[in-house]
């Protein structure tokens, strides 16, 4: 292939063709297909019936518990991950902890899905290590106390295993970006540590924190494998309901599936829109 002649400049977009084609075929059009399908009536034409079908108690309950689990795991993941990241960056822990911790975070943030469910079953399931240990050594039966791995808190606790490391991975560079001079300048101007964090550090970190919260939320909201392997279909969170729909709907009306999927996009979309909006407010001072 020869180098392009000078006039080829206007044809530069041709180089984007493979990527554009790929993105259209396997990302954008399938997603749009779902969105359009949610509003298309049986014989063609526009309808709100499918979306209205979402407003039944069982589906609303599924959305509600999904959103609550995602919010809880995203929020706790943010807070705990932030605390750990702080302890290795500005908390004054020895430097050798940092490398292994970040590597481990890389591993754990990708250790999701089915194996993670197994790990938690082996730990906090009815025969799990911790369950048995607490029962035999301390006489505490956590299941008798109302704990259940196949529940809101059980799933949240499991999700945290990949949410916290993801937060650590994202927020550590941001904490490194806090320059020592800012803290020192604030200090020498008479600010207490709390005043420095409140007036300088947090506002600077805000965009990153919000973005990570939105990402963690979407991450938990779309997760199927862990929940499915953990609970089968006994816990009706949205992705599992959709999963069951897709598996069983071949001959049924697929439109409730469209509507469910559309609902999922709307929820993660709202999460991200909220993030973009907050970010534009928080980021006025960035180039």
């Amino acid at each position: 292939m020869a180098a392009p002649a000078p006039t080829a400049r206007s044809w530069a977009w041709l180089g984007m063709l493979p990527f554009t084609l790929f993105a259209l075929m396997f990302l954008l059009v399938p997603t749009m297909f779902i969105v359009v399908g949610a509003f298309r009536a049986e014989g063609g034409g526009f309808t709100l019936d499918h979306v209205m079908n979402l407003f039944t108690p069982s589906i609303l309950a599924a959305f509600s518990i999904s959103i609550r689990i995602s919010l809880a795991s995203a929020f706790l993941g943010c807070v705990i991950g932030f605390a750990v990241a702080c302890s290795i960056t500005v908390g004054g822990l020895p430097g050798w902890i940092r490398g292994p911790l970040l590597t481990f975070s890389g591993v754990a943030s990708n250790f999701a899905g089915v194996p993670l469910a197994f790990a938690f079953l082996a730990t906090l399931g009815r025969l799990g290590l911790v369950t048995v240990f607490l029962r035999e050594w301390f006489g505490i039966n956590i299941y008798a106390l109302g704990f259940n791995l196949l529940s809101f808190w059980g799933l949240t606790l499991t999700y945290l295993f990949f949410q916290i490391p993801l937060m650590i991975l994202i927020v550590t560079p941001a904490l490194d970006g806090l320059r020592r001079e800012w803290r020192e300048a604030a200090e020498v101007l008479g600010a207490s540590r709390a005043q420095y964090w409140w007036m300088v550090a947090f506002p600077i970190l805000w965009p990153t924190l919000l973005g990570t919260l939105a990402l963690l939320f979407a991450n938990a909201f779309g997760a199927v494998a862990t929940a499915y392997a953990l609970t089968g279909s006994s816990l009706s969170i949205v992705p599992i309901v959709l999963f069951a729909q897709i598996r069983g709907d071949v001959l049924q009306d697929p439109h409730i599936g469209y509507a469910l999927a559309f609902g999922m996009i709307v929820v993660t979309g709202i999460g991200n829109a909220f993030y973009i909006w907050m970010r534009s407010r928080a980021e006025r001072w960035i180039k």
Binding site: E184, A185, E187, V188, G190, S192, V200, I286, K287
Partner: protein
């Protein structure tokens, strides 16, 4: 008692001795520079005054009060950092008002002080901008205003100009000095740039390897350096070796050429001594008013704009000399045999 009194200050990092027996008394309103190469301990000393480092031993008294055990936010000090360190999320006005705000001062007082400070740094229009919208020089002026807004007892500047362009550096150092004089604030200025230190300071502390080698006004530091390090670090210098022939009259030979200094030298005949000569004290060609001269050949000529730097080879050693550039005079050519003249009073003698 002086306004700022540093006595017997020592600092160790592990086993590394970074500041050794540092003593300094600064009067109110004085402008002091710490000058030295990187790693000489000047910044560490400044940070101990600010409270970011704890001295291993010794005392620091500001206005009669020992501050060693006070946290930085209790010392009432203004500080300007090398890399501006403006808070990027706050506007210029909010940056300047930060110190007053954390002190819980009323809004009106903060606004008033911010306006006053913006006037002092000649940026009255820029209060609403964010730091990224300012040039480096403007940012550093805002940083200065922020440090001064809390009316500190002491102003510390840690290489504030080293991140800026050469031109801005010169204009800003005049501005800093003018503001300092106007407010009469006691100031310590850390720099590795001798030109800055010489042009701004009331007194200079030249530091090397944790030791204050010499403390004195710029004139003394430059013309009467106490140690070979000071002589070499401040200004350019010809360092030459000579042999003593008669210590009583100050007769020596330099690459075989006799020179008579007309003052006694503290060395035995036949001993080797070090001489130091500033390039600007040497002149090309014979001069009636000077009493020393050397002969050599021109090794090379550097044209530096207003100044010509000519390097003349003696028998083995080389001396550099500066002369002002004048359009009427052609510079010497390489290989020319020339005579270099100087006043023997300008020759600095150090032993060995």
């Amino acid at each position: 008692m002086a306004f700022l009194d540093i006595t017997r200050l020592e600092k160790f990092y592990g086993t590394t001795h970074v500041v050794k027996d540092f003593n300094l008394a600064v009067e109110k309103g004085e402008f002091i520079s710490f000058l030295g190469p990187s790693g000489c301990g000047k910044t560490t000393t400044l940070r101990m005054v600010a409270g970011f480092e704890t001295p291993s031993s010794g005392s620091i008294r500001i206005d009669g009060r020992d501050v060693v055990n006070l946290r930085p936010n209790q010392r009432n000090i203004g500080m300007v950092f090398q890399a501006y360190a403006l808070f990027p999320n706050l506007t210029v006005a909010q940056n300047i008002g930060f110190g007053l705000k954390v002190a819980g001062r009323p809004r009106a007082e903060i606004d008033e002080r911010v306006r006053e400070m913006l006037g002092i740094i000649h940026l009255p229009e820029l209060g609403g901008r964010f730091p990224f919208q300012l040039s480096g020089g403007q940012q550093q002026r805002v940083a200065l205003a922020r440090a001064l807004a809390i009316r500190p007892k002491l102003l510390l500047l840690d290489e504030p100009l080293s991140a800026l362009d050469a031109k801005i550096r010169v204009s800003l150092r005049q501005e800093i000095r003018a503001i300092q004089k106007k407010l009469g604030i006691t100031t310590i200025y850390v720099t590795h740039d001798q030109e800055e230190a010489l042009s701004m300071s009331d007194r200079i502390v030249v530091m090397n390897a944790g030791v204050a080698e010499q403390v004195g006004d710029p004139f003394t530091i430059y013309n009467r350096p106490a140690t070979r390090f000071v002589a070499g670090f401040v200004g350019t210098l010809n360092a030459l070796d000579a042999i003593v022939t008669d210590p009583a009259t100050g007769s020596i030979t330099l690459d075989g050429q006799p020179i008579r200094l007309n003052r006694p030298i503290d060395a035995a005949a036949g001993a080797s001594i070090g001489l130091a000569l500033r390039p600007e004290t040497l002149a090309l060609g014979p001069r009636p008013e000077t009493d020393g001269s050397l002969r050599g050949t021109v090794r090379d000529v550097q044209f530096l704009g207003s100044v010509l730097r000519v390097r003349v080879a003696l028998d083995g050693q080389v001396v550099a000399l500066d002369s002002f550039n004048t359009a009427a005079l052609r510079p010497p050519a390489v290989g020319d045999a020339v005579e270099v003249s100087f006043a023997t009073a300008d020759v600095l003698v150090s032993d060995g």
